[in-house]
């Protein structure tokens, strides 16, 4: 119902000071976070834009000065004709898919076992954390020594049982599996930590109620634990995928991309183009391409995460 307004009830327009005060009140949150946002943007956007700029340029250092030449999409043309790029992309995808799937399954299994264990949980957690604490350079060196055909621990151990050891990193069929094995040793604990944290945060009441209703343990896992754990799993898989796409140290130290091109991955090739061949523009283009591929995976995982929220 409308009520007539009398002149005394009509408020006068606020003054300038009052409006300014209102404006500050309304936007106060933005002013407080503005310095941080500006700093972050400068830190993130500027290097990214430089990378973008380099990826469409030829950059040379002459007499200590960078000489830039805009080349448009020339690097795309080079990449399409570069015989290493498809091989490196294929190997990278094989590596990523293998390590992400195997590490997720392994970590999930170990996490469930540890979460159900009532003893020595701290010890398990500490022991499983060790590979994550070792610097990648040490891991590469350690496994290189272990895989050595002549002097390596693995072949010497096999020799004790009369089994001739294979050439782990020299055989094109074994080189990638050997790298993947090292990666499993290194990164499964990362996935384990995230999944275990997710498992431990799940409410136990639902499980207990399901048990009262007669559900079996596998039914509880299938219909309660797994759906509740999905957001955690998606996050863990997404992070691991990003890291796996950028794999470098292990392959650089163990095989250098060989034998042949059996373990050549895109990060290793970018390093060679950038540092060995000093083709800054082309290396930037490849790096940007890798970032785009990773972004596609991230978008996919984010959508998957949203769809699976309950």
């Amino acid at each position: 119902m409308n009520t007539p307004l009398n002149s005394s009830s009509v408020s006068r327009p606020p003054g300038l000071i009052s409006r300014l005060g209102n404006f500050i009140d309304r936007t106060f949150q933005y002013w407080t976070i503005a310095p941080l946002v500006i700093t972050l943007l400068l830190l993130m956007a500027y290097p990214s834009l430089q990378l973008l700029r380099m990826s469409v340029s030829e950059v040379d250092i002459v007499k200590g000065h960078a000489v830039w030449e805009f080349v448009g999409l020339k690097h795309l043309e080079t990449a399409l004709q570069d015989p290493v790029v498809p091989v490196a992309l294929r190997n990278t995808l094989v590596f990523v898919i293998a390590v992400v799937i195997i590490e997720t399954l392994l970590a999930l299994t170990i996490s469930i076992l540890v979460s159900r264990s009532h003893h020595l949980v701290g010890l398990y957690r500490t022991v499983l954390l060790i590979p994550l604490l070792v610097p990648p350079i040490a891991i590469g060196t350690m496994w290189r020594l272990m895989y050595d055909y002549n002097y390596g621990f693995i072949n010497q151990a096999l020799a004790v049982f009369g089994i001739p050891g294979p050439t782990w990193t020299a055989d094109p069929k074994l080189a990638m599996p050997s790298i993947i094995l090292v990666d499993l040793w290194h990164w499964t604990s990362f996935m384990f930590l995230i999944i275990l944290a997710g498992l431990e945060s799940l409410p136990q009441e639902l499980n207990e109620a399901a048990r009262v209703d007669g559900a079996t343990e596998s039914q509880i896992f299938r219909y309660i634990t797994l759906p509740l754990l999905r957001p955690t799993l998606v996050t863990a898989v997404m992070l691991r995928t990003i890291f796996a796409f950028k794999v470098f140290d292990e392959i650089f130290l163990l095989t250098g991309g060989g034998p042949g091109t059996a373990t050549e991955v895109i990060s290793l090739y970018i390093y060679d183009v950038f540092s060995g061949q000093f083709r800054l523009g082309y290396a930037s283009f490849l790096a940007l391409g890798l970032a785009v591929i990773i972004s596609v995976f991230v978008i996919f995982y984010r959508r998957l995460g949203r769809r699976t929220q309950i």
Partner: protein
């Protein structure tokens, strides 16, 4: 709050973020990398200071040398100590692992003034520093400088011809050699003697010896697979082939990596590696090869001369006194070929004149016969022919110093263009593929040749059409 507030915040932040991104674009566009032209060279040729006879020489400014951590570092340190002792000039060494050398060198020449007075540049990348003017031509520092003819120039690794874009004999002097690494052929003399075998002169001799000496515990030969290009290029040169060839009359380049000589060389290299090598023949780098020889697991191999002291080191070797060295064999007697894998020293462009003078004074002194003899006796690899010849009689190192002296006429160089790192990447990849039978030898050579042809064409060289 919360959803409404968040949405409102996102809406309000959008224009602010857009502005900031635009601002970042502006910054990127105005950054220091916007130079589009190289500035005109500022270092004018400087006159050499005439020595005065009445005054005692003034001590030169202290210098800093970027030097790689390698087996010959101890010898170089001894040389530097001797220089300091003799002249009173101060020298600081910046010791850096191999993998950091290129980055440090590049950073130094991009600074307003280099932190190093002398850069130690590897065979694989010195060309970029010469081609881009990042080191000073020696005659710009001292117009009267002459390299002693006894100093080996390793197929002109010291020089650069800007017109050809290549290290040629007529090029200007940009650097001086400081480590004379070349390949030698090492073999187990005790085993050869026991079988009545003479030191091989040809690859056929090598194969015959490999056949006789290979056993379950002993590889007949081992190829260097990581990286393979260097050793293979010696095979290639020994068959009269090369990766690329310059026609100095027309200035045209020809890609010859797919020549019949290259195929012969590759087949020989693959046969020796696969049939007579250890089971992991596709996985051996220099360190593994040294370990194989030092532990008595291989009968013969081609390796850098600098590895010789390892076979006499009682802490590493079980074959002391049993290894001998001769020049790398050839496809036929007299067709021997060894590859240069040297280090040169250059003086950065971005130094004041007096620092350049001090750096050159050290290099001049270090190349003298007396200094080089001391250098060799200290365990390093000298760069003078007369020193090798004199050291050939040395009871301790004479066995391989003589081989070094005898190898000088057979020294060959890898392609020495600014694009060499790209060419090397192709060689390594294609040779590795051939070694593990990922491709046939013919495919490796023809595909490699096509890629090298494209590299040269794209870089603007005049290149002859590729022979199929």
């Amino acid at each position: 709050m919360n959803l409404h507030f968040v949405k409102k915040t996102q809406r309000s932040l959008f224009p602010i973020l857009s502005l900031l991104i635009a601002f970042s674009f502006l910054l990127a566009a105005c950054g220091p990398g916007t130079t589009t032209e190289a500035p005109a060279p500022t270092a004018a040729p400087t006159e050499a200071t005439a020595p005065t006879t009445t005054e005692a020489p003034k001590p030169l400014p202290p210098i800093t040398i970027l030097i790689n951590e390698s087996p010959w570092l101890a010898g170089f340190e001894a040389l530097v100590n001797k220089y300091v002792e003799e002249t009173g000039n101060q020298v600081t060494l910046n010791r850096t692992p191999f993998n950091g050398m290129l980055e440090k060198s590049r950073n130094a020449v991009q600074a307003s003034e280099s932190e190093f007075d002398i850069l130690t540049l590897n065979e694989q990348w010195y060309m970029q520093f010469y081609a881009d003017g990042l080191v000073t031509p020696i005659k710009d520092i001292d117009p009267n400088f002459q390299l002693d003819p006894q100093v080996i120039e390793y197929e002109w690794a010291t020089r650069w011809d800007p017109e050809l874009g290549y290290s040629s004999q007529d090029g200007e002097l940009y650097g001086v050699p400081i480590n004379g690494n070349i390949m030698l052929y090492f073999y187990r003399k005790d085993l050869f003697d026991a079988q009545g075998l003479a030191a091989p002169q040809t690859w056929a001799d090598v194969e015959a010896a490999a056949q006789k000496l290979k056993s379950a515990d002993m590889a007949g030969y081992v190829v260097r697979a990581n990286p393979p290009n260097w050793e293979f290029q010696a095979f290639l040169a020994s068959y009269g082939g090369s990766v690329i060839k310059l026609d100095e009359q027309t200035g045209e380049w020809e890609v010859t990596f797919n020549s019949p000589e290259a195929l012969e060389a590759l087949n020989t290299w693959l046969k020796l590696g696969r049939e007579y090598g250890p089971a992991n023949y596709a996985d051996n780098g220099q360190a593994e090869m040294i370990a194989l020889m030092a532990s008595g697991k291989v009968a013969q191999m081609v390796l850098v001369g600098a590895s010789a002291p390892d076979f006499d080191n009682p802490e590493k070797s079980t074959v002391i006194g049993k290894v001998a060295a001769v020049p790398v064999p050839g496809s036929a007697p007299g067709m021997n070929a060894t590859m240069s894998g040297i280090w040169v020293m250059g003086i950065p462009h971005n130094l004041p004149d007096e620092r350049k003078q001090a750096a050159l004074a050290f290099l001049n002194w270090a190349l003298s016969k007396e200094a080089q003899l001391f250098y060799a006796q200290s365990g390093a690899i000298p760069v003078r022919q007369d020193v090798y010849e004199e050291m050939a009689d040395d009871p301790k190192v004479g066995w391989w110093m003589k081989a070094m002296a005898d190898s000088t006429p057979f020294i060959h160089a890898q392609p020495r263009l600014a694009e060499t790192p790209q060419i090397i990447e192709v060689l390594d990849r294609r040779l590795k593929q051939a070694l593990i039978s990922e491709v046939t030898p013919e495919q490796a050579l023809s595909e490699g040749a096509r890629e090298i042809h494209k590299i040269l064409t794209d870089a603007g060289y005049k290149v002859k059409p590729l022979a199929e």
